[in-house]
């Protein structure tokens, strides 16, 4: 197991280097010169040159790349070019609000989707199954933006059940007051596709010989579904859930903007609008690293869930 983990960690190095090169060249050739934005309404060539010098974008590419690698190794991406706030501080303060919304969405949507998927898979082909699938298809066809606009108008403004927008001081206030509607809307969007997907995973298992054998041996339906079927369906479900996890680092941009949640998603968009390279590269690197680590964790979890899995 240790050898496997070491090998996988070692394999991350070239992947990360690839990401570093990609982000570096994309920013330098496509990202635009930030000096012209930072210079303000009226600037002259000397001022532009002074800004470029201070940002370090006047350095040869190899030197800039070296500094970038140094930043990754030290974890110090410097300060935002437009606000002067430390990049580490941006992550520390903005990640909390994003997670307050996204973790409940991820946990609840996974649990709810699994329960519904188990139910409809069990009665597959029935009217209930077909109705749920139609509802899921309709739900999936509507964009998150529509859910947000309508949900904010109806539930927050017209019915007054939730605040229209805002963010408070305490975790409990944020979780139960301000994040409640964004979480609800996130669930409405997320449950439908996951239910369909998990139903497929479960149906694949239900049709397996071992299920028939279990039933023939007189194992109860509950035990068959919850212990045998679900356990085997968990591997693709875990893969799906794990794929979502790196997304937590970039937040839910639309929810954060509409509900004025000071999360990392809003910050990333602001950074892109302002050509704020230190923030953009930090986010990209963190997401890449998180993706690789989570993939490794997923593989380890397969082994935990199903001892037959062999890690090579």
């Amino acid at each position: 197991m240790s050898a496997y983990i070491i090998r996988r960690v070692w394999q991350m190095v070239p992947t990360l280097l690839g990401v570093v090169l990609l982000i570096f060249f994309l920013f330098n050739w496509i990202g635009g010169d930030p000096a012209y934005v930072l210079a303000g309404k009226i600037s002259n060539p000397e001022q532009i040159e002074n800004i470029r010098r201070q940002l370090g974008v006047d350095q040869p590419y190899w030197k800039q790349l070296l500094i970038f690698l140094q930043q990754i190794l030290t974890g110090d991406f410097g300060a935002s070019w437009s606000t002067n706030e430390k990049v580490s501080q941006i992550f520390l303060t903005r990640l909390g609000p994003s997670l307050t919304v996204l973790v409940p969405i991820l946990v609840l949507e996974t649990l709810i989707a699994i329960v519904i998927a188990l139910g409809v898979a069990y009665v597959r082909g029935s009217l209930t199954d077909r109705l749920v699938m139609v509802a899921c298809t309709v739900g999936m066809s509507i964009s998150l933006l529509v859910y947000i606009i309508v949900g904010q108008y109806v539930f927050a403004y017209k019915l007054g059940w939730f605040p229209v927008q805002g963010w408070g001081e305490s975790v409990s206030e944020n979780l139960f007051v301000y994040a409640a509607l964004p979480v609800l809307l996130g669930l409405l969007v997320g449950i439908a596709p996951n239910t369909r997907l998990y139903r497929t995973f479960i149906l694949d298992e239900i049709n397996q010989d071992y299920v028939r054998t279990a039933r023939a041996k007189g194992v109860s339906e509950n035990r068959t579904m919850l212990v045998h079927v679900l356990r085997n369906a968990l591997i693709p479900i875990i893969t799906n859930v794990m794929a979502y996890l790196p997304g937590l680092l970039v937040g839910a941009f639309l929810l954060e903007r509409f509900f004025s949640i000071p999360g990392i998603g809003r910050e990333v968009i602001l950074a892109v609008e302002r050509s704020d390279f230190p923030v953009i590269k930090a986010v990209t690197i963190y997401v890449a690293m998180a993706t690789m680590v989570i993939n490794l964790l997923a593989d380890l979890m397969y082994k935990a869930v199903d001892p037959r899995v062999v890690l090579k």
């Binding site: 635009g32 000096a35 060539p45 002074n50 303060t93 605040p163 927008q165 903007r257 509409f258 004025s260």
Partner: protein, 591 residues
């Protein structure tokens, strides 16, 4: 003796408290920023929304009268308006004694008095290369000795000598600052009235050098109590602010008399705290305002027609006694052609005719209806309404006239080829490249300009690029045609006319225009204060601009401020960003 001293101290404390008590801590104003702020170091930040906070924390030597229109300068920390001598080259300001900075830990429980040296330090900061102030251009080449100081710093590896004595920044005594300029500038006091020139204390800036954006300490009416970046701010009335009695004179505009009646004689500021929320989405701001979570709202964007059908308050808002205060922003939107471009630039009659025809093909009324949802007026003059030098009677010669445009093109040799598109007089294909940002408004302008030019037979090539790249190309005179906007830094026509001054090419003159006649008139206008003589020069410059057509004037946009019924004394000022100091709130149950 000790008792006397205690009594004196008590009397002083009571005096200070009297001003502090004017602001009622129960009065909380709920304000909104539609874009995230970037910080509060006046010399560093350049976005409008950070400026609105800076304006209330720091004080300038001069500011604007709240009700006077067009805007009129009045003293802020200065005792009186500056003595202007030497044909607008020397400005002498005397600061009111007894003004103190807000408390800060670096002063260990005490505060410090504002002195002339603070303004000298504040001005020097703008040219410090290490600061890379986006407002440097306002002082560049203006104050005697300041540029040389910046150059020395640049040569010595960035070490800026803040202790250097400059001929242009002379400290006469503790409270008197004399500023000597390199040349006549009657607008210099306007420049110093910008929020960015609010006085900072050197020891505060040096103590928080790592992040001056996060530690604003000024002498203004409010101080920053709490800041959750890009989300929320809490400002409280500065207990050391000296206050004043509301005594502004009504202007001629409707509502001024009632506003004066409601506010006259009140000790200011009245509002104890300001809660500022950053709400970026139009719908969220609109619903929050309707829910009573915001006290004022600038109604802009696609939702404006809902709140203001036919440019009137909706019946629902009227029923709720919401008020509307509407001004034309001191800005102009315009489309320029690069005067150095081989296809559309140049001063030959053919090139002028081409630009004129394109200008005549463009329908500003359609721009107002489609792009601005009716929330704009056509700009007829280079100087927008509300800005000194504006001529409300002026009628632009360039009108929407596609038939006239086609005739003009025919006359100057831009004939249609076999493919139906016009060619250049020498027979080469004519393709005009319009540049814009890849956003929704950019696309709307693309479509409108494409429709306009194609209607007269000119083929258009739409070029999309990121904002920084467009700016870069613009400064290098590499774009052919683009739509831009300019909002007043200060309310004087000079701030707009300089946009076409030849030597400003590569800086603010995006058309890269060098029109000798215009430049000569501009130079002459710079030597004059606001006067009928200067206004006549402005009119001639406007006609010169039309004659050479480096620009097509577009619109000036409305600012629609929706006001909740309990807000008193509010009137949108065209230049001031946030008027909290002049307002009051009627106490409501449950607020």
């Amino acid at each position: 003796m000790k008792t006397m001293a205690r009594l004196l101290l008590a009397a002083l404390l009571l005096g200070a408290l009297k001003f502090a008590l004017a602001a009622d801590p129960n009065k909380v104003l709920h304000w909104v920023l539609p874009r995230a702020e970037t910080g509060f170091d006046p010399a560093r930040v350049h976005d409008y929304y950070s400026g609105s906070i800076v304006e209330n924390i720091f004080e300038r030597l001069v500011t604007y009268d709240y009700l006077a229109r067009p805007s009129r300068l009045v003293p802020e920390t200065a005792e009186a308006m500056p003595q202007v001598a030497d044909a607008g080259r020397t400005y002498t300001f005397r600061i009111k004694p007894g003004i103190h900075f807000a408390p800060d830990p670096i002063w260990k429980g005490k505060t410090r008095e504002l002195v002339a040296e603070d303004y000298a330090y504040t001005l020097k900061r703008f040219v410090d290369p290490a600061l890379r102030s986006p407002w440097k251009f306002l002082l560049e080449g203006k104050v005697l000795g300041l540029d040389a100081l910046a150059e020395r710093a640049a040569k010595s590896g960035g070490k800026f000598d803040y202790d250097a004595k400059l001929p242009g920044l002379e400290i006469i005594d503790r409270y008197t600052l004399r500023i000597r300029l390199t040349e006549t500038d009657y607008n210099f006091a306007h420049i110093l009235a910008m929020p960015t020139f609010g006085a900072v204390a050197r020891e505060v800036i040096e103590a928080y050098a790592e992040d001056t954006n996060a530690h604003p300490v000024g002498t203004g009416p409010y101080l920053l109590k709490k800041w959750v970046r890009s989300s929320k701010l809490l400002l409280e009335a500065n207990p050391h602010y000296r206050g004043f009695t509301w005594n502004f004179q009504p202007g001629l505009e409707a509502g001024d008399q009632a506003l004066v009646a409601a506010m006259k004689g009140k000790r200011m500021p009245q509002i104890g705290s300001i809660e500022v929320s950053v709400i970026e989405e139009d719908q969220s701001r609109w619903l929050a305002f309707q829910n009573g979570e915001l006290d004022l709202l600038n109604m802009e964007g696609p939702l404006a027609p809902i709140a203001l059908p036919n440019n009137q308050l909706s019946a629902e808002l009227q029923k709720r006694k919401v008020r509307l205060n509407r001004i034309v922003d001191p800005e102009i939107m315009y489309t320029y052609w690069n005067m150095q471009d081989p296809v559309v630039g140049g001063m030959s009659k053919e090139k002028i005719a081409l630009r004129r025809a394109m200008a005549m093909a463009y329908n500003v009324a359609e721009e107002i209806r489609v792009i601005h949802n009716g929330q704009a007026v056509a700009a007829e003059y280079l100087v927008p309404p509300g800005v000194v030098g504006h001529d409300a009677a002026f009628q632009s010669n360039i009108r929407f006239d596609p038939a006239g445009a086609r005739a003009l093109l025919d006359r100057f040799g831009y004939r249609k080829g076999a493919d139906g598109w016009r060619t250049q007089p020498d027979g080469k294909p004519l393709v005009v490249r319009y540049s814009s940002r890849p956003d929704s408004q950019g696309r709307q302008f693309d479509e409108l300009w494409a429709k306009s030019l194609e209607s007269v037979g000119i083929r258009i090539d739409i070029h999309k690029d990121k904002f920084p790249e467009l700016l870069k190309a613009e400064k290098l005179c590499k774009l052919q045609m683009r739509t831009g906007a300019w909002i007043a830094d200060y309310p004087d026509g000079d701030n707009f006319l300089q946009l076409l001054y030849g030597p400003n090419t590569g800086q603010s003159n995006n058309a890269c225009a060098r029109i000798p006649e215009f430049d000569e008139l501009y130079r002459k206008s710079k030597t004059l204060p606001d006067s009928p003589e200067r206004n006549r020069l402005y009119q001639r410059m406007m006609r010169s601009m039309e004659a050479h057509t480096p620009w097509r004037l577009g619109v000036s946009r409305y600012r629609n401020m929706l006001i909740q019924p309990h807000v008193q004394g509010y009137k949108k000022h065209p230049i001031l960003h946030a008027e909290w100091l002049y307002m009051d709130l009627e106490q409501k149950n449950g607020r």
